[in-house]
Symmetry: D2
Subunit: 344 residues, 4 copies
């Protein structure tokens, strides 16, 4: 008998539970929440799920071979550490931890115990991101010029993290995966507009070691919901509009070519525009969360190598941490050097 | 007999000429361009227009009471100075000058001569900007939370200015006018992606004395043309999509309200969302350039006070200058203090 | 103890079941389906639901005071008749029956037994239709000019009804309700494009006694999903785009005014266009099906008068029947006269 | 010296004049209009154009080798006949004539004189229609299922023709050209909504000899401007949205496939949906009117065969005439048999 326990039955936990149940990789799915009402609700909806009010009891059950942590960010570290200490594989919601030190400790602990540690970067499993990675890998995109991403809407205000920690982990993990990119320099500009004390409108600028830059605009205070990412390469430019019901990804055969006008004077160049067809590729439609939970089970059982293991989660946390430092220092840049954050 | 002379018959000059002719405020409209082909072309299209190959000859014509300068930015100062020296009223294309020192000198010269000095911030005369200003003035918007503006497309690369100097003067003049806002702190993030040597993808962040901030995204390297500005207030949020053929402005009765949950503990607040109707006001449809040229003639004749006089042009140039300093200093902030630019 | 039994657990039945359960107007909700797999599936999802494989057994249960019929159209009549015969209130999916004779018989039977007979015209309970009716009732729309509705997508092909019977009942019931309109003359144009034997692309034209006409375009063979209705009045024009995630309804203050140019010659008229603001009213967001099921319970208990009683369902069926006659007669018109269908 | 004379300087004539001037195929371009103000206006705008107030004088000028007629429809026949009688090639605005008899007479006259007679079906020269024809010709579309076209907006009301005669000639000529299609059976449904006496909202149904049908919706009373055509084939489905600034044409690899489930029973079929990529082909961007006027000059000089000669114009007029008969006969169908219109 193999089982998985989901800790936290608030907003996201029930989605994990449903997908673990439907995926069938585990014989039993357990739910754990201190809030009796929430626990009761999910157990009534899915009668096969067994509920625990106490984490210790869940972890004491030998049938639980893995846990998934869907609680507020500040509690991730302690829960994950307890799970690993009891020999459980661990899946953590994004962002992985409250700081990189915690993430590093979890990674070391999982490694020493030979356990799987994975972060739920769900978007990596969408058809859109898979297709973007495919286009990059094939060379079709050409060298990347820049990335511009907008992820804004009205609400949901968080209590324990600002809007950068809340929304940009999606974009950071997507770019890291789709372009195999590694952050080098971070700047953050943020505003506390609504008077609630948290930065609620923000711009996160990231320069990557691979030679391009990205700007991530995140907001809890936008009149309309926008989920739009541009990945501009020299050969192709991709626009991903996740608010479209279908046809979310457009690939533009558009760009700029520089012609040197004089052999002697290299500054004499002429810009020429290229405008070709647009293609709207069909995207794989399986629900991303279903694929993520299946991938986690496979990784725990040695059948797959994680695409969003602890190290990837740590990479994201480092950028978030750098953003907080930058915000405190008047948007000064923060470099990531050998894993350390260095204000520049 | 009253006349106006337009210097520069390249991309924008012919538009000025056409509108001065159609407006009828001047008895004669003159065109001036060193390039014989361009001059010939506009004179053939509008036979009533008389052409000059030489600026000196144009300025020597006593019928010319005003000139409009639509040449590359680096030539604005010398031409405007020559015009003012000869007693002509002067209209300059945006951006006004290459640096604030030049702009200041022109303002002083015009003042000393009692001449009109105006900058062609055409967008101030659109129905959309007029309506935005009206909504702000009426108090309907409430205190401004933030501004987010995107002005991007593929091309047109400029030779003498970067993408911030090329595109953001529109947005800077719009915000200054619609919200009576004064820039305080500037940061710029820019990339030279296409290898042409100029910053071609950029983000300009401006904090205003009035307590809100704006982010202006400008790019010559976007696969799609976007002209979209969000002005978010606590009572209303405006979205202006200038790519819409009609119904460009949407006013959302949307926002956030904070409810204090405890009299003792002010940190216990609850965020509540408000979602009401959306309205799409009818916009005044007269061509903006027609209104701007008429306004210029009125101002020259003392019938109106300019909404985009030299001081307004200088305000924009100062922000652009600050952006260049910020770009050179790794995006460090630059403050505007009593008209001086101070890196912070 | 009061109970409701839903017959048919295929595509739509589970939605009814979920809403009856969540609404709480009935102490017990029963499901009935010959297909053991489907029955099992819904009972597992909602453990409080008790399943019946046999309709007779369901009807024999005295706790069942009402039934909802969500089976193929050809079976509606027999099931509803059996239910009424056993003294149950009856809710039927649209279209109510296979022909008007069956609908008339059910109406008479329900009346003689003092039972409620209602048709599930779900769209009447959406915020969009409620708002449209409100605009019409207030006089804001002015006299109606015409209605144009498009309801098309790729699939779902039905086996027992053509695309007119499948899709236009929505539009027919909406117009009847929002404008208190009564069909007078019907024409149908239809094509069997995909070779499956059924009319799969169709246009249904309806003239109403109230002086305006409507065209309903229905298709199973459209590359894109379109749900768009225009209700054009002399004072306002409404566009309802149900594919929009938010802001589905737009009310245009647009129209035409005729000015008589000569007192003697009434033919000398000049058309003037009026273009004013557009408003996007906030719509009531409660799920329509929840409201419909609550309304049904209220009607059964005498607390409300049905807005989609049997007579309304019959009105729709008559138009559908007329469309079939028209299709067979080369799109000749069919009049509805005192409830009879008369080819003209 | 070769010249072309454009008769009618109202709405469309100036566009023809500009394009004849810019195209350079004629040494001289003449304008002719009884209205002195309109004539004066175009001659001032383009000083090289010589104006005639009188058609006879224009036709008497031996330099005029061709005329273009851009006057109200009822005057087309007499003007074209006079031109042909004087030995001029003739280009006529759509619709070609007020009835098919007139069109037939002009065709015969042109043939007997060896002169070119062409109708200005401008849309045939757009990149979108060229690409549609290419997709059809290549076999990529597969057999056509159906066509659905919407061409509606608020205004411009015409005085001498109804909305079908005004707007559908575009669609009729496009389908005839892009699909090499020949109309067989016509039905029209029309309403006079605004009380101006003319049919202002209409639906024109056309069955083609080639086995598919089309519906053309035309309206002068729509709150929004829509220009949208669907050409659905068994292999591909094309959506042409002419209101899009760019990316007007989308080609969907979408459709339906029927699988026979039983060798014995041919009625046992299963519908399967195919959903593949979407492509947005780059369209040739040269102005259509420029290409049309050049094509006309080439045809007059025997360098090209007209794609919209008199016979094509006649085909369109026959459908329009049939629509008027259908409207008068309660939307009864009208067949085109060997060029004759036969109510069925």
């Amino acid at each position: 008998m193999s089982g998985v326990g989901v800790i936290g039955a608030g907003y996201w936990g029930p989605n994990l539970i449903r997908n673990f149940v439907a995926g069938g990789a585990y014989d039993e799915v357990f739910a754990c929440d201190k809030d009796a009402k929430r626990l009761d609700s999910i157990c009534k909806q899915i009668p096969s799920v067994r509920g625990y009010a106490d984490v210790e009891e869940l972890l004491a059950n030998p049938a639980v071979e893995a846990i998934a942590i869907a609680t507020p960010v500040r509690t991730h570290f302690a829960l994950a550490k307890a799970g690993l200490a009891r020999g459980k594989h661990v899946l953590i919601e994004k962002p992985m931890t409250f700081n990189s030190r915690e993430a590093e400790e979890l990674i070391a602990l999982a490694a020493s115990k030979g356990l799987m540690l994975m972060v739920d970067h769900t978007f990596l499993f969408t058809g859109a991101v898979e297709k973007m990675r495919e286009i990059v890998k094939s060379g079709e995109l050409g060298p990347c010029y820049y990335i511009d991403s907008v992820r804004v809407n009205l609400g949901l205000f968080q209590n324990d993290v600002d809007v950068i920690w809340d929304l940009t982990p999606h974009d950071l993990s997507i770019i890291a995966y789709a372009l195999d990119a590694h952050p080098k320099l971070i700047r953050a500009i943020g505003h506390s507009c609504a008077g609630q004390g948290m930065v609620d409108v923000a711009y996160l600028s990231v320069e990557y070691h691979e030679g391009f830059s990205a700007m991530f605009h995140a907001s809890w205070l936008s009149p309309t919901k926008v989920r739009r990412m541009v990945v501009a390469g020299s050969k192709r430019m991709i626009v991903w509009d996740d608010m479209e019901a279908v046809d979310k990804l457009r690939v533009y055969d558009k760009g700029v070519e520089l012609k040197r006008l004089s052999a002697e004077d290299p500054s004499k160049i002429q810009v020429e525009y290229r405008t070709g067809d647009v293609s709207v590729p069909k995207l794989e439609a399986t629900e991303a969360l279903r694929k993520m939970t299946a991938h986690f089970a496979d990784c725990c059982r040695g059948k797959a190598t994680p695409i969003c293991g602890g190290e990837k989660g740590l990479d994201v946390v480092r950028v978030l941490e750098a953003s907080t430092i930058s915000l405190k220092n008047g948007s000064r840049a923060v470099a990531i050097e050998d894993g350390a954050l260095v204000p520049v």
